[in-house]
Structures are given as C-alpha cells and as structure tokens.
C-alpha cells in the first residue's frame, strides 16, 4: 500500500521554513492547498533548490493521483480525464469532468458525417454561467474496411477540431487510419486493445504515442492487459470492462466500476489506476430501435454510470432533450461540494430602476439568485430585487423549513430606505412562497402580490399586472 497524501505526509517533505515566498502565511496553509490540488510543489521556491531535489521528487510522487490523468487530443481542445483520488465527491472536489464523445459510423454518407461532426462541435448550452459542450468524436469502423475507415477518419479530422476516438478491434483498420496521415498528429484514443489484438495495437500506441483503451469482459483480463501494456512502455490507458445495459449483467458493470475504483484508490493497485469508460451508445444496437425510447434509455444509462465513476462515455443520440439531463448531471457531479451555497442578502438593482419600478423578492440560494437575476436581465426589466437570507436555501425548501423569515424583509427595507426608493408599496413574491403572503403583509405593511412560480414567467406576469 503506497503512502497516502495527508497534511502530515506532505508537510514532512517541505523545507518547513515558513518563509512565505509561495504567497501563503505559512507552510501548513500551503500544505492544505497542495492537498486540495490548488497548488503545485513547484509553487514552493525553497523546494526547488538543488539540496531539496530528492524531497521534491518524493513529494511529486506522493501527489500523483491514484487514477492516472490521461490526455486525448492536442492543443486547445485537448480532453483531460481521470486524475481522480477519492471514492466520494465530499472527500475532495472531482475534477476533469466526464468527457462525452458522440459516435460517427464510417458507413454514413460523407455529407452526413461532416454535418454531424460540425453539429457536435457547435453544440453548446449555457447553464449558470458555464458553457456545456460535447467533447469528442468516436469514429466507428462499421465497414470493416481499413481504406474506408482511413478515409472517414481523415474526413472527420478535417471537419472538426475535437479529439477523436478510433474504434476498431482490427489493428489493420487502426493502422490505416493512423497512417492515412490526417489523424496521427491529433493524438487520438485507440479503441481498443484486447486479449487477441494487444500486440499489434500496443505497437501502434507506442509508434504513434497515442492513448489506448483496453477492453476485456472480466477484470482479471483487464488487469492482465494493463500490466502487459505497461511493461511494453505504454502509460496512457483507459479501462473498458464492458457496458451492459440490461438484465443482471448491468449489475456486473456497476459492480466492476466500484471495484476497479476501490482497488486503485484505496488499495494502491496501480494496474487498475486508469480512467474508466462506458459506452451507453450500446442501447442502439440492432435493427429495429425506436428513436424516442432509445434516446430516453441512453440518457438514463449514461446517468447511471456518471454516478459510478465514468470518466469517458460514448453516446449516439444528438437529441437535446436526451443530452440535456446528462450534461446537467455532469455539471452537478463536478461542482465543488464546498463552494458557497449562498450570495449576500440585501438589495440589488437590475437595469436602471426608478420610483415606479417593481420590487421583487428572491432568496440568497446562489442558484435561485442567479437564475432570477439572469431572467430579469435578459428580459430587460428595470427593477429592484430584494435578496432574502434563507441560509442558502431555495424558495420552496426554505418556506417549508422555516428559513424564509418575513421579518427580515422589513429589516432590509429599512436598511436601504426602500420606502424612499419607490413611491408604491407593492412587493412581488415568488409563487412558491404564496403561503407567506399574509405574514409578509403583516410585517412590512406593503401590499404583497404573488408572482409566478418560475422566474422565466416574470416578463409576461409584469406586462399583465404591472402597468
């Protein structure tokens, strides 16, 4: 069992001078930054002196995450996956969000291939100030024809800048694609080395310096493959133990994921310390698949494995209704669990409000606040927004849980001289707080208007009820 990074183990390798040259008040603070991966050993100037060379090396080794970080692609669009160190996200923020690859078959028409690649690259949704994207293209050698595969991978590479996955169990096809010229310098992921083809595929991975996926249906074989490939000098690997999507076999895939992560993170098994990939696109196999139910299933199978350590997934559908929950879940899972939940309470102005502008109320739960503020801004509404301290809880939860205190509204009003800012005495409250209408009226002596349940409807509401 290797030494585990802890405050004390990290501290023992530092010069312990408390010099402050790193910008932190003392070494212990720097240690906690190192532990949270918010600083690097190179940020410690004394440690870079020759006499600490050995300690530096040991510290770097100590801080290497148990799950290797693997880079696929090059340049701006490079995808980084893995680098994980824990079993549960409350232990340490997960970083390197699950990469999502969309498949392209080499049996598609050229025009459709180009169109699909561009659509994947252009896909973008903004949620809470973050741009959410699809990250890769997985080119499938469905034709079993190396020449066609080589041609199509070049076409894909020319059509978009996203990193690629070359999918074929036939080394000849993989070689054809790599030798075809266009894609080798893009450092694609080779999918996959198996118990049958590992000699040739690992040769290709070495020759072209590409990351490679290993695929086997049982964990002993997976381990055998990673061990062998590592002995052959390959470091960047990704594990695929099979994505079962139904029946009791689904249970095996779920189990395998936990077991692989556990032996790597908690038991120091370096042969299993690689990112894990799943292929929810599997649900599309077969002749007659219904596009709606299959897109639905693909999304929930992907979600299931996002909740079980998926570092990379390959999916098929481009339906936004199916992709949206998956990328939203990814955003949720990779949010820092320790980030503040709340914004400051008090009064905000949206646009340029005047004495006749509406006054609206929301809570200080950051998600609620940013959603409401965004909606008001994008609708071009000039107004005052009162942000109530609900201990960082959303409207419905705080009303139910008793953190939504009507008396606090009065305090905010008096602290900002609200009654001088507007001539009217009307407060619009969230629809989900309707139950507190009477209490708020009693405590503020203002007229309370119950607004919509969702801030996306405020614009329509105001044009109807606010002259």
């Amino acid at each position: 069992m290797p030494e585990k990074a802890s405050l004390l183990s990290i501290y023992s390798y530092l010069p312990q001078t408390n010099c402050g040259e790193c910008g932190e008040p003392n070494c212990m603070v720097f240690v906690s930054k190192l532990l949270e991966r918010k600083a690097n050993p190179e940020d410690c100037p004394p440690l870079k002196k020759p006499k600490y060379k050995e300690q530096m090396a040991k510290l770097v080794e100590l801080l290497v995450p148990p799950i290797r970080e693997v880079k696929i692609g090059v340049g701006e669009d490079v995808v980084k996956i893995g680098g994980k160190e824990v079993m549960y996200r409350h232990e340490l923020t997960y970083h390197n969000p699950t990469a999502i690859a969309i498949d392209v078959s080499d049996l598609m028409d050229d025009g459709k291939i180009v169109e699909r690649c561009r659509a994947v690259e252009a896909f973008s949704l903004v949620r809470i100030g973050e741009r959410l994207r699809l990250n890769m293209i997985a080119v499938r050698c469905a034709s079993k024809d190396p020449d066609r595969f080589s041609y199509v991978t070049s076409l894909v590479a020319r059509s978009c800048k996203l990193p690629l996955i070359l999918c074929s169990f036939d080394p000849k096809s993989l070689r054809a694609a790599l030798e075809g010229g266009q894609v080798a310098n893009r450092r694609p992921l080779l999918y996959a080395a198996t118990e049958e083809n590992w000699r040739e595929v690992s040769e290709l991975a070495k020759q072209y310096n590409c990351p490679v996926a290993v695929f086997a249906l049982n964990l002993g074989s997976v381990k055998s493959l990673t061990k062998t490939l590592k002995a052959r000098g390959i470091q960047d690997m990704i594990i695929d133990f099979g994505t079962h999507t139904e029946g009791g076999l689904l249970k095996e895939s779920v189990n395998n994921s936990v077991m692989v992560r556990r032996v790597a993170v908690q038991r120091g098994d370096k042969d299993m310390g690689y990112p894990i990939m799943f292929i929810p696109a599997m649900v599309w196999m077969g002749e007659e698949v219904d596009p709606v139910t299959t897109s639905y299933k693909e999304a929930y199978i992907a979600s299931l494995f996002l909740n079980r350590y998926a570092d990379l997934i390959i999916t098929h559908t481009m339906e936004v209704w199916s992709l949206l929950p998956v990328i939203t879940l990814r955003q949720n899972i990779y949010t820092d669990p320790r980030k503040p939940v709340s914004v400051d309470s008090g009064l905000r102005t949206i646009g340029s409000p005047h004495e006749k502008s509406p006054v609206l109320l929301t809570t200080n739960f950051s998600l609620t606040y940013y959603t409401v503020a965004n909606d008001l801004e994008s609708a071009g509404i000039d107004c005052y927004l009162v942000v109530l301290n609900t201990e960082g809880l959303a409207v419905e939860v705080s009303v139910a849980g008793g953190q939504f205190h009507p008396s606090d509204i009065k305090d905010i009003f008096s602290s900002v001289n609200m009654e001088e800012k507007v001539k009217h005495r009307k407060l619009i409250i969230p629809g989900l707080a309707a139950r507190l209408k009477g209490d708020i009226e009693d405590s503020t002596n203002w007229e309370v208007i119950v607004g919509p349940r969702d801030s996306s409807q405020i614009k329509g509401f105001l044009s109807k009820y606010w002259g």
Binding site: Y88, S105, W198, L250, G286, L324, P325, L367, A394, R435
Partner: protein
C-alpha cells in the same frame, strides 16, 4: 561442455523464464538428451549474453502477463435499520403486503460485497384536490384528479406504485383550510380504495400539519402509514406521539444539512420513537438545482450509518418528483426539444442519481419514471449465473459494427 555446467545453466534458464513468466514449460516432456540438444544453441547464446537478455524479455511479452483480480470486500461495523411500511391482517392492518425498506449492510448496489436485503420502493404522488401539475404528468391523471381514491387506485393498479403518497394540500389555511377531521375522512377513503400502504403528507403549514397528521393517524390506526413530516419548526412531539399511539412511521425532514438531520433524529428518538419507525428526508433537490448537494448528503449519511453512527441509521426518503420544479422539466423551449420527453427524463435522472447515492423510498410523479426505476432495480437485483456473464445474448463487443447510422 561439462554436464555440471549444462545443468547449472539449464536451472538458471528455467529460473529466468519463470521470473519473466508465462512461457509454457510444465506440460512439455523433454528427455534429458533432447534437453541437451535444445539447450545447445541457447547456451551458446547465453555465453554471449547479456545483450541477448532483452530479446528473451521481448519474447516473454509475446504472451500476456497473468494477473488476478479479487473483489475488494470491506466490512462495515454498522447497518441501516429496516423499516416496515403498511400492516397486513396478521399485523392488525388491512394492507395486502408490507413494504420493507432500509436494512443496508453496504453502500447502494455494492453487490459484489452483498446484495442489500430490501429493494428501493416507489410511491406515487396523489393530491386531495386538483392542482396544477406539469402537462406531461397531468395527462395521465386528468380523469381521476377529482377523486383522490380513484387517483390512488390508478397509481397502484395501472402504474405499479408500491405505496401511495397522499398529500392533503387542501388543509392549508391559504388554500381551502379543510379541517383535520375532514382530511382524515379522505385518508379513510383512500385506505379503502387501495390495499397498498400509504404515506400521508401535509400542506407544509407548520401549525396545521401536526393536527392533521394526528387526526389521520387515528383513523388509520394499525395500518402502519408514514406520516410526512416532522421537523424542528412544527409540533413534532404531537406527530411522534400519534405515531407511537397508532403504530405509524414518521418522516424526519431537514433542509440539506447532515448535522441538522442528526439533531432532529435525536429529538425523535428522545421522544421514544424507535429507529424502526423513522425515515429521513434530508431534501432532494432537482437535477440542475442543487442535486449535487443531495448526492453528497445522502452518501455521507449512508456511510456514517454503516460506519456506526447510530443517529443516522434510518432509511432515506427521496421525493424525486421535486425534479418537476426545474424549468427544464416543464418549460416549453425549442432549444431543449419536446417537453413531453424531457420532463419525465428529468425526473428519471434525478431519481436514478439519488438511488445510486443511497435513497430507499422514492416519491415520483410520472408513470415512465416508475417503470424505468423498477426495471433498473430488477436488473440490479437479478441473480446472474457466472457462466452466463460472459455469454450475453447481445454481444456488446459487437457495438462498433452493430449500431446503425
């Protein structure tokens, strides 16, 4: 070459081969004179070593290095208690069956360690008056919304709900202010209409809920319903005492905080309510709207219980129908695609996530979610014949060629 030297070298060679592994030698019978013959050229080469050694190594890697994988099993000092919902005739009630939840001995679906004894259970939401619901939910219940008994029946008989969650929202003073006594009559009606166990929910009004739950508990005496909910802001003592007197289970609700959940559980335990009559609701936020907090909260609670914190060893309720509060679930949007699919999927993904994080009992609104979740649970509990594992009917290794364009 002398015989002794040959012997020594042979031994060395075999050692070397063994160290590099995987060259089949055991099953080859070689006579002594053959060995000398075979070894002649090798020994000749060995003399010129060491530059030939790497070649032997490369050759060894012509076969896969062997590796064993054994499941990393852990032992947990604690376990979650089992809570029984509903009572059959023999237990003094009139339900057809008892739904058991909790009882976990390991984390959710770590079935390589062991299969937790009880499957997650699913309740569907019923309201005691027609209320505004997302269109894609409403379309399944339009014909029964006037009558909670019909509504409950449809949930059980048509959509496979294990339990019915009856929400008496009309009791809210700002809605209809229906009296606890009249609300209790609705409970009786629903108990007669279905033989599934019941969760009885209030309106969220902190004054009215305890009174209403007390009245409901009395008419449902012996049926082992779930009273939803006791929290620090309402008269939880009244709810606990009714649960004790009439034999029900209580939901302990806290808004998103493990320490507050622990404190509330302690308060209920101190009132003399046994763990077997408590279910925790630590808050389920919708996908995209704080679900991340819920994931970590449930995982921490479940782990704490398994590690022996006896104040957190109760099963977890996840009202996943909260997903419908997310605008992505109901809002019309061309960018996001048809809301008829998006809505139920939003609830499905929210519920799957809380199920993988440790939820035991799920409140759901849409029939599709119930169907999907039940199917998944079926798979996750299916006994798999090991022989069968590596011979699936659909060969997943064919995905590269067998997915259409």
């Amino acid at each position: 070459m002398k015989e002794k030297e040959t012997e020594a070298l042979t031994k060395k060679l075999i050692e070397l081969v063994e160290r590099l592994g995987d060259l089949e030698i055991e099953n080859v019978e070689i006579k002594a004179e053959e060995l000398t013959l075979i070894l002649q050229p090798v020994i000749g080469a060995m003399v010129q070593a060491p530059q030939l050694l790497p070649k032997v190594e490369e050759k060894a890697l012509e076969t896969l290095l062997k590796a064993e994988f054994s499941p990393p099993i852990e032992a947990y000092p604690g376990e979650v208690v089992e809570v029984r919902i509903g009572a059959t005739k023999s237990d003094g009630g009139s339900r057809r069956k008892v739904v058991k939840i909790g009882g976990e001995k390991t984390m959710p679906f770590y079935s390589f360690e062991l299969l937790n004894p009880n499957r997650p259970a699913f309740t569907m939401d019923v309201f005691d008056m027609p209320i505004t619901l997302a269109k894609s939910v409403m379309q399944h219940f339009e014909d029964v919304m006037q009558d909670p008994a019909d509504w409950a029946k449809k949930c059980v008989e048509d959509f496979g709900a294990d339990i019915v969650s009856l929400n008496l929202v009309s009791t809210d003073p700002t809605i209809k202010d229906v009296s606890p006594k009249d609300a209790a009559k609705t409970v009786e009606k629903v108990l007669q209409a279905v033989d599934a166990p019941l969760v009885i929910g209030g309106s969220g009004n902190k004054v009215k809920d305890p009174l209403m739950l007390e009245a409901a508990a009395e008419v449902a005496s012996g049926e082992r319903c779930v009273l939803n909910s006791a929290n620090v802001d309402n008269d939880y003592k009244r709810i606990v005492s009714a649960a004790k007197r009439y034999g029900h289970v209580v939901v302990a609700f806290t808004p998103m905080d493990i320490n507050n959940q622990k404190k509330l559980n302690r308060l209920l335990l101190d009132e003399g309510l046994p763990k077997e009559q408590i279910i925790m609701d630590p808050t389920t936020a919708a996908l995209g709207y704080g679900l991340d907090y819920t994931i970590s909260l449930m995982e921490r609670i479940k782990l704490s219980g398994l590690l022996g914190d006896s104040d957190l060893q109760m099963p977890i309720l996840s009202p996943s129908s909260n997903a419908w509060g997310a605008r992505e679930a109901w809002m019309k949007s061309e960018e996001f695609g048809p809301k008829e699919y998006r809505g139920p999927l939003w609830e499905t993904v929210t519920a799957i996530t809380t199920m993988m994080a440790g939820g035991d009992l799920f409140m759901l609104s849409h029939p599709a979610t119930v169907r999907v979740l039940k199917g998944l649970v079926e798979s996750l509990y299916e006994e798999v014949d090991v022989e069968h594992v590596y011979k699936p009917s659909k060969k997943i290794q064919d995905w590269i060629t067998d997915i259409g364009v």
